[in-house]
Chain length 348, copies 2
């Protein structure tokens, strides 16, 4: 951020910085132990890694024709399938399904009503087949109607105990280590990193700072309205309403970026057709822009569900051949999980 | 922002910081010339100034029982009447009125239609009397239908030439110097400063960085939707739509703060009943919280239009006695422009 105010930084700030100087070497020593001695250590050498390094150099080195002033350095990341595992279901959907018993306990009449009945049955095959309108009923019942504070507390508690069935680890450990390194490398070079997710903004904000070092105010997601009101003791609070303000997917991603950030990103990362417009919008800006697409082609270490797997169109879902054709046409770089990543998770 | 990523800062950052060290004294020298040797120099000693200094000390000094971690230091500021002059009309409304001729030039049939006819007449008394639904017609016609880029360019150009009728200066010079100093003092102590305005988010973002050193992504305002589309050459762009997503006034302020920031502010500044809920919501948080209300009681140097002026209720509009009664009841601090501010503008 430029300091264009008529006053500039206060003396207090300067004195604070000077006072900190003697301790800097110590801080650097501590940080060095955790630092990336070479950027992107979990990446294999190749065009994807090179594209990231080249982009950062081109936009941050003084004198570069593509130099981007620090305040304009914005990078946006899709979450599900780009920063963490999205199989067998979006983590937030699993949270909503897990929350159904509590909702039914509060409203016992729902136990005999679909789709709650199916969810309570525990029949996974039947749950997986629930049509979209039933899923929306479940999302609405489990994500709205409570106070913002109660919701945050409930998500936090769930994250502590819930485990991914394949890896038997907390969902928040299933982030891709190579992408964590991209976040770190961009931030180390003055980029402000944002999550731009089709998932719920309030849900992701609960853990974004802890998991990605991305603060809540840098999470753009599908967002419902809230309603301001007063508790019995007169204290104001916000209730989550079943009113969708932003469907942060597809065209909603650039629209959401405009609403919440107000600047076009210089770099964007996605993995599905829900990210297409964000990648297009980013790449269409002037100067050096980086649009990258994570391809899930590693059935052994994670999953393989992109078009490169030769799956029929009905199976590849939102990972169509058309998306990869557009990547080639528009100059986006495809990241092959199999070839570009030395390891997938930090715990490996 | 905490750095909780598994990698911490990269070596590149550290090397960059070390390389910068020899130049720090020079930077400090330059900054010192502009710095606040003592915080809030344009404030008279008194309870308002003291409340700000005490709040900052209580929330930032280590060991203080009210210490707030840096990532949670959020301060929100209303704009019109809190950071800059809002008389005789909101600056954005003046922009919209000034833009009517261009709108009519593009659609000549509007010249004979109200309220455009009245605006084109230049009859100030008649314009001032336009009812709310006519004003909304004008706002919609002048703030939507164009691309985001065209709108930004037009506002930028208007700001360069438009002058406030009383001071004959650009509107962007009519910010209150004491409030600029509050922004600087809070930022110097680790606070992230946000604009939370009933005005248009896109309008304010055009100049917020230059005028307040607040970047666009820290502007929360009334926001319309945009629509993603493609130009003839295939380049994507966003069009401003006549669809209100956030009416950032009254209860819309805490709701907008939740949508755009996701954290409750520790300090909030306002001046009208449109700020009431933001001030309540801020003050209701735990620990030390600061809610302040700017009272316009200086007819000579600026304007006097608060209830303290003894104006009839019909004239005081949104500055009701009830608001000041609530300030007393809730422990908000009222800022008297007349008594608390040594000077109003930087150009004085």
């Amino acid at each position: 951020m430029r300091s264009n105010s008529p006053n500039g930084p206060s003396r207090r700030l300067m004195l604070g910085a000077l006072a900190a100087l003697p301790t800097l070497p110590a801080l650097f020593g501590a940080a060095a132990a955790r630092a990336q001695v070479v950027p992107l250590p979990s990446w294999n050498d190749g065009p994807a890694k090179q594209a990231i390094l080249d982009f950062v150099r081109a936009t941050t080195e003084r004198g570069s024709p593509s130099f981007v002033p620090p305040e304009e350095r914005i990078a946006t990341f899709d979450q599900d399938g780009t920063l963490w595992v999205e199989q067998p279901m979006y983590t937030q959907v699993i949270y909503c399904l897990d929350r159904v018993p509590a909702v039914v306990k509060a409203k016992p009449e729902l136990a005999k009503v679909e789709p709650f009945k199916t969810v309570l049955s525990g029949n996974r095959a039947a749950i997986a087949k629930l049509p979209m309108h039933d899923l929306i009923t479940i999302l609405t019942a489990t994500l709205t109607g409570m106070s913002v504070d109660d919701f945050n507390a409930d998500v936090k508690q769930w994250l502590e105990t819930a485990r991914n069935p394949r890896w038997q680890r907390p969902y928040t450990e299933l982030t891709y280590q190579p992408m964590q390194e991209v976040l770190v490398h961009l931030r180390a070079n003055g980029y402000k990193t944002y999550l731009v997710t089709g998932g719920g903004q309030d849900f992701v904000r609960v853990y974004s700072e802890r998991v990605y070092a991305i603060p809540p105010e840098q999470v753009v997601g599908s967002a419902g309205g809230t309603k301001y009101g007063y508790a019995k003791d007169g204290k104001p609070f916000l209730t989550k309403e079943p009113k969708l303000l932003l469907n942060d997917d597809n065209a909603g991603k650039p629209e959401g970026i405009h609403l919440m950030i107000g600047r076009r990103p210089h770099a964007a990362f996605g993995n599905s057709i829900g990210d297409r417009q964000m990648l297009e919008y980013t790449k269409a800006g002037d100067g050096a822009r980086l649009s990258m697409l994570v391809l899930h082609d590693d059935a052994k270490r994670e999953y393989a569900y992109g078009p490169a797997q030769g799956l029929p169109a009905s199976k590849v879902g939102t990972f169509t051949q058309a998306l990869y054709d557009e990547a080639t046409k528009q100059g986006w770089t495809v990241i092959s999980m199999k070839n570009d990543w030395k390891r997938i998770f930090a715990f490996e």
